[in-house]
Symmetry: C3
Subunit: 391 residues, 3 copies
């Protein structure tokens, strides 16, 4: 990331707070964004843009407010405006006008290239038709390679939608995992959205799986996995196949019962699952619990993606809390960006800045050496993802 110019340097205003060596390392390290989605490939209107920077709501943004006046909105106006040639802190209207004048591909290139990412690990399972597939993300970002994550519940739904019978589902699912395996680096469960974590995580037998599928198909509408048996089945199969499992935890949209997405409720699963890498994603406001689990189980790691962007300036404290108990080998970087490419850029920038402020204070106080700080950055930003996904 660029240094010096206060409009775009991620360490602008922090000369006294972040030691130069650490800032320089954080500017230059090329991150693995281990949980990310594509960018919008079509023009969107302002309402869609504002909705896309509001995690959680399915209400339209009301007329008496704008998402530009919120933590993420302020961060976009501060850090993304200069990328579009605007002054930091422009108004939301001015930001929108400049953004709306650009083609989606142009926007994407402007934000993806300076993000300083060495690899995108892409979750393609959500609204996949609105946004770019991995190969296009690679192209728009100037050749940054992409790896792919397979959404587990979606596979079950697509198999059943394509006519697989409930009785055949278990074998068909295993076949699909086997077939996908060469092309993916891991899997993801959205059990948080479908059944919550306070369920029976025992590995179900095939008969139980078939019965759960049967019951699901008996309901009107497209097949939608929302039974614990099916999520548990999918997760245990992925683990049995030796595939890493990402788990959506905490912060998400309001369909989700946030308190039932507390990672502590995963204990029964973590105690019995085959010890493949389990990656707890987002985790806010339960990131302390996630750090505790990452310390307690060799196979568990976590990130605070998504929340870094949404908290804006407060991402510093979030990153600090994420540094509390887990060894540095057990935490990863992600943006969880989806849609506006601002989010792919901003996640990277805010994480670097936050790490600089958190670690910088400890280095200045003599509590950490510069070497330790650099190693923590490299582990969390790059190497842990390389290890857990075998990149």
């Amino acid at each position: 990331m660029p240094a010096g110019d206060h409009t775009i340097d991620p360490f602008a205003g922090l000369t006294d707070e972040v030691p130069t060596t650490l800032a320089d390392h954080l500017r230059s390290v090329q991150l693995v964004d281990h949980h990310v989605h594509g960018v919008f490939d079509e023009p969107i209107d302002r309402a869609a843009f504002e909705a896309s920077i509001n995690e959680g709501s399915t209400d339209p943004v009301p007329g008496w407010m704008t998402m530009f006046d919120g933590p993420l909105g302020v961060a976009i106006r501060r850090w993304c405006a200069p990328v579009l040639g605007l002054a930091p802190h422009v108004s939301g209207d001015d930001y929108w006008a400049a953004r709306a004048a650009l083609e989606p591909a142009d926007l994407a290139e402007r934000f993806l290239r300076p993000a300083g990412v060495a690899r995108w690990v892409v979750d393609t399972g959500f609204q996949g038709t609105l946004i770019t597939p991995p190969e296009r993300l690679t192209e728009l970002s100037g050749g940054v390679p992409s790896s792919e994550i397979l959404r587990l519940e979606l596979q079950i739904e697509s198999l059943l939608a394509a006519g697989t019978s409930p009785a055949d589902l278990p074998d068909a699912f295993r076949a699909r995992l086997a077939e996908a395996r060469p092309h993916i680096v891991g899997t993801k469960t959205i059990a948080a959205y479908r059944c919550g974590f306070d369920v029976d995580w025992t590995r179900p037998d095939d008969r139980t799986v078939a019965a759960a599928a049967e019951e699901m198909l008996a309901r009107p509408g497209a097949p939608r996995v929302d039974s614990a048996a099916l999520s548990a089945f999918a997760v245990h199969e992925a683990a049995a196949a030796g595939l890493p499992v990402q788990v959506h935890v905490g912060f998400g949209d309001r369909d989700l019962d946030l308190h039932r997405a507390d990672p502590m409720l995963l204990l029964p699963l973590l105690r019995i699952i085959e010890p493949v890498p389990v990656l707890l994603l987002h985790c806010y406001p339960f990131h302390r619990q996630a750090g505790y689990l990452a310390q307690a189980f060799d196979h568990v790691s976590f990130d605070v993606g998504l929340a870094i962007n949404y908290l804006g300036s407060r991402s510093v404290e979030l990153v600090g809390e994420a540094m509390e108990v887990a060894p540095f080998a057990k935490q990863l970087y992600s943006s969880d960006a989806f849609g506006p490419p601002e989010l792919h850029y901003l996640g990277s920038l805010l994480w670097r800045r936050a790490m600089g402020l958190v670690l910088g204070a400890w280095v200045r106080r003599g509590e950490w050496s510069l070497d330790d700080a650099v190693r923590a950055v490299d582990l969390i930003g790059v190497e842990n993802a390389e290890r857990v996904y075998g990149l």
Copy 2:
């Protein structure tokens, strides 16, 4: 609030930390205290005073300690002592001696007038006979107007106590709401104290309400609403009448099961209620969850009142955490002061100081513009309350 003099200036000691323009704005802005109670109108003894600065306990303060040696006690000795002509940091004994020498009305005037409040939105439902009614609060504060909030559970109890039959309760309650409507700006539920939030929030029909009232009356003692059906009824009726609903959340006295007052447990209600403004009050230590809900639902807002006073110097971090995910249009200021007028003053002072420190750091680092900081102050301190209550 007064500037310069380090004994009473809310930004004393923060010259390097809070930009002058921001400090000046925070000194002068006249707040809407959107959730507050009256002040003591009779002299109290020291035990009663100490009890009134201990939220939660029903034990008497034991002989081996004093509430003056706690976060709120330190804040009172620091910030309220100068208002009584004492030096900052006087001992608890000296503070008490000076305070005890003044009449309640004199005390009230000394603290209410410099609080910098433009309007009190008063909850009159709790221990209403010990403290001043709204019109007296207005008088003591030099003409600051008051608006009134109606306690929902109390209306049910008073209707039944006055002889309304269970079968007549639903209509009588609706009639009372209709009658109260011109005189109030909103309503409040204390379901947190009565049934907790992990209950059925479906809107009950009148027959169910009557049966719940019948059951309550069959018990000995004065009628006390503690069934989910009655709280749910009252809340849905208030919403159907288009009235804002305040909800006590989190921090409160020990009668309350704090973990059953987690705002996430309100999800089933928030998903179905008529979208009138819902104001989550206090929220500590679940204020992050409250901010998340305020982001996820257009009709939900929150505050961290009560806790600001109780945390004393730590109110800075609390206010910081409250700035994490909610748009600035979704947070409000309140003191939740009750009894000693010190609390009406201190809530206002600590909030200004905390906002100055939190926003000031971001402005100094170049992450926020001064304009953004001022706008966030105005929204949270004044304008959001004006909008949600139609003041």
Copy 3:
């Protein structure tokens, strides 16, 4: 603790942040470590050492990581290395080499003596054969006296293992408490590990206790108390005997369901127990809830021991959060050190440093007087423990 030399002064690097008087007081105050265990009395290998600085895991530390690269590991390399004559921030390998060259007794003396502890209050109930008993801890620390805490569940298990019949258990347990009483200053329950807190805390009658013991004995293996009835019995008996009760809360190893060790779930017990001192131990990440309970109940106090060590540099924020709502008479200091004597030393050092930073900032801003800061240190570090245990 030593001043000046930046390699070992706990306030190294903080000249501008901690007022000299406060730093000097914090260097010299002799603490009561109110919850601590013995030190290893036999040489251990590196794997055992790394395991002993990983709370929670029962997995071996995997080859791709080291606990030296984590918050506690960094703190050991920074603060303990100089005690062994090494430079701060040595590598984990170098630290291990120096440590491994020393005898256990030598190691213990080096770390225990400069810990600045006036009294160890020792929990002897866990893996008591691997580590030093209280008298040896006293000897190794140069004569610092020890007091003893009795583990409640262990007494039941040992009585039954020694042949006490279920029917005789209640009387035998009471007799053991009476017999132990002159030799102990308090008791401890590990209900968190055995039954969780979301259980029936009613005081069971002797018949219920006998039945629970009967049922336990009917299972294969050594007797292991894991029924709520037995823990509730033990706790109520200890309280009836006037003995303080320590309660393991929150942070612990992964056998524990952390979310079922939330102190709020103890409300039903706290509301009915004889009001002996109840000490909530550790509490992370529920320390805010613990502070709330300490404020709400005269007989409840808490600490953030164990977590202070595990959070390393982040112990500052932890100590800050622990200062939020509880009066200063309701919090205690502990290290919860177990095994490596580094932990006995580091807990003390990090607590002093954190208190210096937290209180120092408030003093510098004029929010607290130096006297108030010193009094809070003395209460939390020394006097509260003296009072609750009658030392």
